[in-house]
C-alpha cells in the first residue's frame, strides 16, 4: 500500500545521521522531526534564524517572536542559537547544513527540481528553497509520486519553472525510495505492498530497476 505522508517522513528520518544539522521544508518534511532515530543527535535549522528548533510550545506559552520558517510558533532547545537571515543563509550556502529535506511539484531524472511557481496560476515565491537546493550537498525530496490526476511527478524533464538544477540525489514518494544518478531514477526500495510494475507505471522518467527491489522497513 502506498505510504501516508507520515510514513514518507518516517522513511526519510532513517537517512538522518548522527551530528547532522538538518533543514526541513514546509509540509511532509516538517514531519520528519517526529521520527528521529534513537541514539542520534541531529539539530534542526530554521532558515528564518534559528538552530536547535524544538517542538511547538505548550499551549499558552506561544511567543510571537519565536517562529519557524513556516511561520509556526515553536520553541528553541538548550544549546540552540538565534541569528539574522544573512547568517542563516551563510550556513546554508556555506554547506554547514548536512541535509535538506523539501517538497517538490516535479523532479526530473537529472536531478532538477520545480517547487515554487505554476505560471499564470500560483506564484508564492521560492522562499529559501533556491538557496537550499543550490547549496546542499545532500537533498532529499519528499513528494507524492503522482499528482491528483495520476500524472507522474518524476519526469524526464520538468515542465514547471525550475527551483534548481542537477541537485536532487534522493526522492522518497508514497510509492518508492529512489536515487538519482546517470540521468535516471534508480529504484532502491518499494513501499510495502507496492509492486515494481506500479512504480514503473507511475514514473515518466527513466526508471532503472537492478535486481530484487526490497520493501521499505519501518
Amino acid at each position: 500500500m502506498a505510504l501516508s505522508k507520515q510514513e514518507i517522513a518516517q522513511r526519510i528520518a532513517q537517512e538522518l545521521q548522527d551530528k547532522w544539522y538538518v533543514n526541513l521544508g514546509i509540509g511532509i518534511p516538517t514531519l520528519v522531526a517526529n521520527y528521529i532515530p534513537k541514539n542520534i543527535d541531529v539539530v534542526f535549522q530554521s532558515e528564518n534564524g534559528m538552530l536547535g528548533m524544538g517542538p511547538f510550545p505548550i499551549e499558552g506559552e506561544e511567543d510571537a517572536d519565536l517562529i519557524n520558517a513556516g511561520k509556526q510558533t515553536v520553541t528553541i532547545l538548550k544549546g540552540g542559537s538565534l541569528f539574522d537571515s544573512a547568517m542563516s543563509f551563510a550556513m546554508i550556502r556555506g554547506q554547514h547544513v548536512q541535509l535538506t529535506v523539501l517538497g517538490a511539484m516535479e523532479v526530473s531524472q537529472n536531478g532538477d527540481i520545480a517547487n515554487w511557481k505554476i505560471p499564470g496560476k500560483m506564484v508564492k515565491g521560492m522562499g529559501g528553497a533556491m538557496d537550499l537546493v543550490a547549496s546542499a550537498e545532500n537533498i532529499i525530496v519528499a513528494m507524492m509520486h503522482t499528482d491528483k490526476s495520476g500524472a507522474s511527478k518524476l519526469l524526464k524533464r520538468c515542465s514547471l519553472p525550475l527551483t534548481g538544477v542537477n541537485c536532487v540525489k534522493k526522492v522518497v514518494t508514497n510509492l518508492a525510495y529512489l536515487e538519482i544518478k546517470n540521468n535516471a531514477f534508480y529504484l532502491i526500495e518499494r513501499a510495502p505492498g507496492v509492486s515494481v510494475e506500479e512504480i514503473k507505471a507511475a514514473t515518466e522518467g527513466t526508471l532503472i530497476v537492478e535486481g530484487e527491489i526490497p520493501e521499505m522497513k519501518f
Binding site: S46, E47, N48, G49, M50, P55, F56, P57, I58, E59, G60, E61, E62, D63, A64, D65, L66, I67, N68, A69, G70, K71, Q72, T73, V74, I76, L82, F83, D84, S85, A86, S88, F89, I92, R93, D112, W116, G120, V123, K124, G125, M126, G127, G128, A129, M130, D131, A134, S135, P161, L162, T163, G164, V165, N166
Partner: protein, 233 residues
Amino acid sequence: MINKVVNNAQDALLGVENGMTFMLGGFGLCGIPENCISELVRLGVSNLTCISNNAGVDDFGLGLLLKKHQIKKMISSYVGENEEFERQMLSGEMDVELIPQGTLAERCRATGAGIPAFYTPAGYGTEVAEGKETREFNGKMYVLEHAFNPEFAFVKAWKGDTAGNLIFKGTARNFNPMMAMAGKITVAEVEELVEAGELDPNQIHTPGIFVQRIFQGKDYEKRIEQRTVTPKS
C-alpha cells in the same frame, strides 16, 4: 554619544515621498515595523517599491499598504498567505520581483557593507538567473547579484538605546539587521528605548552607526500567523 531619538513615527518618517524605495524588516509578521507601516498608511505615499521578505497578510503588515494600492513593486522571496497580493500581481496592478531568500538577505547586507556585487549559487539554471551574469568557480556555477539602493529602511527591534544601538529578540531578528545597515536613512522602532550605556556593548546586534532615527514604538500587536501548540498534558 550621538543622539538619534525622534519623538514618534511621524517625525521618524519625515522626508518619505511617493515613488521611493523602502526596505522593511520582518519574516512573515514576525519582527515587522508595525508603527512605521501604520504611518506609511496614514501618509498615503504611493508608487512605492518595497523590499521585504514577505508581503504581510490581507489585513496586517504590508497587506495594509497593498489594500490602499500604495505599492507599485514588491521585491520579496515569498508572498503566499495574501489574497489581495495575489490578485494585484496576477492582474498586473503591481509588479513583483521574486528572489531567493538567501540572495535577498545577502543583497541587503551587501548594500550596507559597500559590496556592489557578489556571486551566489542560488537560482543558477532557473528563471531567477535569466539576464544575469553567471560564472564558474571551482567547478560550480554561480550567479552575479547586486546591492540594492533604498532610500529608507524601516526596522523593528526589541530594545534600542538613544545612540541607535539595537538588540533583537528571537526570530524577530531575521532581515532587520541587514536592512538597518542598508538604508540611506534607517528608522528603527523599538519596544523598549533606553539610555545610551544601558545595553551591554558586547551584546548589540546592530551598532548605532547604522541607525539615523530611533523611536519608542507603541501599541504592538505582534500578531501570530500560525499558532501551533503542544496541548497541556
